[in-house]
């Protein structure tokens, strides 16, 4: 499988260290093998050199000539609606959730665990009832309990008299 993402002009990457950690930037130019010039006019990152070691490439790419001014980068960024696209991506969602989880304190973690337990209880009940009421071939199984209930209902309605 060939590489899908390259360090290239216009490639959107996520910073992983320092002040910019967690922000997305666009690569504007390659300085050398280890560093690139990045710019993030819509993510609050001024143009600067950044180490490739601390960059993670995303699937997004903007189209502009290398060493384009911030003005052009911003224009392309807005045209592609990149901020919104990034926020909708699975990667961004995941990192958002990780952030949320790390912000939890001890009591919050307990509450989360408690909520999950409650949900799983309901799920188990629902699953077991479904299992009971389904035959191996997929057709519905009528339980004794159901017959009883039906008879009771009929009796109530006055139709069950012999």
């Amino acid at each position: 499988m060939p590489f899908q993402r390259y360090v290239e002009t216009g490639r959107i990457a996520k910073c992983t260290s320092g002040k910019l950690r967690g922000k997305i930037v666009s690569i504007v130019d390659c300085i050398d093998q280890t560093r690139v010039l990045v710019d993030g006019p819509q993510s609050g990152v001024p143009r600067q050199a950044y180490r490739l070691n601390n960059l993670q490439l995303t699937k997004f790419r903007l189209k502009f000539p290398y060493h384009a001014p911030t003005r052009v980068v911003r224009k392309q960024w807005e045209a592609a609606d990149l901020t919104k696209k990034w926020e909708e991506s699975a990667w961004a969602q995941k990192s958002k959730n990780v952030k949320k989880r790390t912000a939890l304190n001890d009591f919050d973690r307990f509450k989360l665990r408690y909520a999950k337990k409650q949900r799983n209880k309901l799920l188990t009940i629902a699953y077991n009832t479904l299992k009971k009421r389904t035959k191996a071939d997929g057709s519905a199984r009528v339980l004794k309990k159901d017959r009883k209930l039906r008879i009771q209902e009929l009796k109530k309605a006055g139709k069950g008299k012999k």
Binding site: T102, A103, L104, N105, D106, F107, F110, K111, Y114
Partner: protein
């Protein structure tokens, strides 16, 4: 004239309170030569002005150490020099036992408790018999130890003292405004009772000595009940009261990929 003097004169006129300690204006240039000579300082400080107002020094007559006494008798030389202060007639053969200064006494040591460990804080115990439990800090005792309670009915942690080293403070707090911890629950309250020195004489000695079993006194039980009652009312006023009760019942544990230094408590 040096410019410093001008500013020094102006200072009180500006209405600012002069500071108690001013920076020394005169200083060592190098090799013991001062910036202002003695003559210049005399002028600068206006000591000539003070001269008139200075009080004359009252001279205290010096007391003589010795006096000369006239002595009778032909062969005694007529007079003798006698010291006014008598020497000691005897000296101790052993150094006196003096009471030592109480400076270094343990109970007087300065205690410093972590800022987070305030009354009403839920803490996690990390060591000892009750490790993993979440309990409530009641107060910091004079010895520096924390007074905690489970409450007993929730996680069977009694009123107890614990070192602050063995707890992790969480962010959860309960309102302690209406919680009353009796004053008699202090360090002395938790002191161990001395073992009874009585021994069974006679027949008793044949059998193995009975092991003394610790029993909780009625006083402790009643104290526990009163404290826990007020704590529980405070708990029930919490926003998440139902969950909080369960929270205190539960144990703290780390699961995989959970690192205590990365967690927020």
């Amino acid at each position: 004239m040096p410019p410093v003097e001008k500013s020094a004169k102006k200072a009180p006129a500006s209405g600012k309170k002069p500071t108690k300690f001013r920076k020394a204006v005169n200083f060592n240039l190098s090799g013991g030569i001062m910036r202002y000579s003695r003559h210049q300082q005399y002028k600068r400080k206006a000591l000539w002005r003070q001269k008139a107002t200075l009080k004359p020094k009252q001279e205290v007559p010096k007391r003589p150490l010795t006096i000369v006494k006239e002595i009778g008798g032909g062969h005694n030389g007529g007079q003798r020099v006698v010291t006014l202060r008598k020497n000691k007639a005897n000296y101790p053969t052993k150094a006196l036992v003096t009471s030592r200064p109480t400076k270094g006494v343990f109970k007087l040591h300065k205690r410093s408790t972590r800022k987070s460990l305030i009354p009403g804080r839920v803490v996690i115990i990390v060591a000892g018999k009750h490790k993993g439990k979440r309990v409530i800090v009641l107060k910091v005792l004079q010895s520096g130890l924390l007074l905690i309670t489970g409450p007993f009915s929730l996680n069977s942690t009694p009123l107890r003292r614990i070192s602050q080293r063995y707890v992790i403070a969480t962010q959860t707090r309960i309102n302690m405004a209406n919680v009353v911890v009796p004053d008699h629950i202090n360090d002395a309250y938790f002191k161990r009772e001395p073992k009874s020195t009585k021994r069974n004489r006679g027949e008793g000695e044949i059998f193995a000595p009975k092991k003394e079993v610790y029993t909780v006194s009625e006083k402790r039980k009643s104290d526990q009940a009163t404290v826990d009652k007020s704590i529980k009312t405070a708990l029930s006023q919490h926003k998440d009261k139902k969950l909080l009760f369960n929270y205190l019942r539960s144990y703290f544990a780390l699961s995989s990929s959970q690192y205590p230094h990365r967690l927020k408590f």
